[in-house]
């Protein structure tokens, strides 16, 4: 391994040792995967989406396989913010990796309260989820209009004492407009994409595969859409962009960096290969070595158009 390779990136004051972050909802609170690899290898971990109160989530089946992708309809099942602060932060803090708290609310007040609580807790950044397609209230309702985004982000920004990342939904007409609304309202960074709303049907039984009928599409199938949105957004805003959607290896990650992302998140690929997160870090390194890139920051936005 070449020691001259510098993988460090900086997201609005949050320094990451490398640009690879575990995507929210695919990595739990890190415990399970800590048995598969050393969590120190990751730039950061975005934990399972949190809400103020514990949430049961949606009825199963909650996952369906689609061509080179999956649909999920978990619906933000989580133990609630208090349990997270009490039980999960102390575990995660044992590792030298950034803790990003992914948080959702059903109402403006929820968002404010959860951001306040997270601001007082021992985490490194807040990822505001305005984009979960699997819950009826809040969330995506705020995330699908510039005004909704502006309202939530302005309100919580006043209370946030940690870098504030706003996670955007791809289920919108103009993603750049959404990102600009987040930036204008004070977001320190935006992350995208969350899942594309989709559906699977079993022709034999004539029923939807998912208990919740529709679900969110992720995995390699969505990569072209994600890449385009990251490209559009990073041209539209000046805050750092975290890119995700179908990243499975170092080459995919490099494509997102070239498109303008300052860091990437990897989710679904880990279900296929629990080493996908680590392999993505290694793959970026390998690309940099082959192409004589000494700092990963040189790749960011490096697309030649």
């Amino acid at each position: 391994m070449n020691n001259d390779i510098n993988l460090k990136v900086n997201i609005a004051g949050l320094e990451l040792k490398n640009p690879v972050i575990a995507a929210s909802g695919t990595f739990g609170f890190g415990r399970e995967y800590s048995r598969y690899f050393d969590l120190n290898a990751l730039g950061g971990i975005s934990v399972k989406g949190l809400t103020l109160k514990p949430r049961k989530g949606n009825p199963p089946p909650r996952i369906a396989e689609t061509p080179m992708g999956i649909l999920n309809s978990v619906g933000l099942q989580n133990p609630g913010i208090e349990t997270f602060i009490e039980k999960e932060i102390p575990f995660l803090r044992k590792f030298d990796t950034a803790i990003i708290a992914n948080a959702s609310g059903n109402s403006l007040e929820d968002y404010e309260r959860i951001v306040e609580m997270l601001s007082d807790s021992d985490i490194d950044a807040i990822e505001l989820n305005l984009s979960c397609p699997n819950v009826k209230e809040g969330c995506m309702v705020f995330g699908t209009s510039a005004q909704g985004i502006n309202t939530v982000v302005s309100r919580v920004k006043k209370l946030a004492k940690k870098p504030l990342i706003v996670k955007l939904t791809p289920n919108v007409t103009d993603i750049a407009e959404m990102a600009k609304a987040a930036e204008a309202a004070g977001a320190d960074s935006v992350s995208l994409i969350n899942t594309l709303l989709g559906m699977a049907i079993d022709a034999k039984t004539r029923r939807p595969v998912l208990g919740n009928v529709t679900g969110g599409l992720s995995g390699p199938a969505v990569k072209p859409v994600a890449l385009r949105m990251v490209y559009e957004v990073s041209k539209a805003v000046s805050i750092p962009v975290i890119g995700m959607g179908g990243i499975s290896n170092g080459t995919d990650a490099v494509e997102f960096l070239l498109a303008g992302a300052s860091a990437v998140m990897v989710g679904t690929a880990g279900f296929v290969d629990p080493m996908a997160w680590v392999n993505t870090v290694e793959g970026i390194k390998a690309y940099m070595q082959e192409n004589n890139v000494s700092s990963v920051t040189e790749l960011i936005g490096g697309l030649i158009v």
Partner: protein, 258 residues
């Protein structure tokens, strides 16, 4: 963590059912009856997600585990194309197996279709004095692993949907009769949800405890993604818990079957 192992034996039980013996000291050492493995059946491109399979039997000395499976769809079709000597990507053992209590002297295992597989190792491992197995199949030509089960229990009762062999009834009917004859201390179920639901109901009437091995569509297989949940009772309420991590085996009375 390494997940690549060799298939040292690949047998075909009937036109669509196979048994693979996988060489893995690591898995064999830890494996307990009722636990599962999560297998990559093809390339990401051909079958994107892994598929869960119950551990069907374990040879701790040889350092091997067997899985048995039936072709159901894309993944299992691809899996059937693996041959002896091929390597295969297996995560495991995962989840919680059956609880084996020495105080239980008489047990009955009840399985239907592919649900019979995890029951074999259970029968081998359980210290009970008297073990009965009730296995349900569609018809005579679908009966598999008959000898293995016969050798691992005291009494094997086969039921078929069409009566072409054994008794023509549901496994749960046969279970009822067996209980009437001689009530067991514990019953283990694995099979279609409806069978387990009915079975658990019957046992409630007799106040006999039971364990069920559940199935649910899975993502990660290790508890991180929360896709594979079932309803577990909790105080006056219930929670969705991960079948892959907290199960697949649960106390039958803790589960709410919708």
């Amino acid at each position: 963590m390494d997940t690549i192992y060799e298939i040292v034996k690949a047998d075909r039980l009937n036109d669509d059912t196979y048994v693979f013996t996988i060489k893995s000291e690591t898995i064999a050492k830890k494996a307990r009856a009722g636990q599962i493995v999560h297998i990559k059946c093809g390339e990401e491109t051909t079958a994107f997600l892994r598929r869960p399979f119950s551990i069907c039997s374990v040879d701790k000395e040889e350092g091997t585990v067997d899985i048995a499976f039936q072709i159901r769809g894309k993944g299992t079709k691809l899996l059937s194309e693996f041959a002896e000597g091929n390597t295969i990507d297996v995560m495991g053992p995962l989840g919680q197996g059956f609880s084996l209590y020495p105080k239980h002297k008489k047990i009955i295992v009840v399985g239907g279709g592919i649900g019979i597989f995890p029951l074999l190792q259970l029968l081998k491992d359980h210290p009970a004095e008297h073990k009965r197995a009730i296995l349900g199949f569609r018809s005579k030509d679908r009966v598999i692993l008959e000898d293995s089960f016969k050798n691992s229990c005291d009494e094997l009762i086969i039921t078929t949907d069409d009566g072409s062999i054994g008794r023509k009834c549901f496994v749960t009917d046969a279970l009822k009769e067996e209980i009437e004859k001689d009530p067991p201390d514990m019953v283990f179920f694995c099979g279609p949800t409806i069978m387990m639901k009915v079975g658990v109901g019957i046992l409630k009437d007799y106040d006999i405890p039971c364990q069920v091995s559940l199935e649910q569509r899975m993502g990660c297989g290790i508890g991180a993604c929360l896709t594979c949940v079932c309803k577990e009772k909790k105080d006056e309420d219930w929670d969705y818990v991960q079948v892959c991590k907290r199960g697949p085996v649960f106390d039958g009375n803790d589960i709410i079957f919708d």
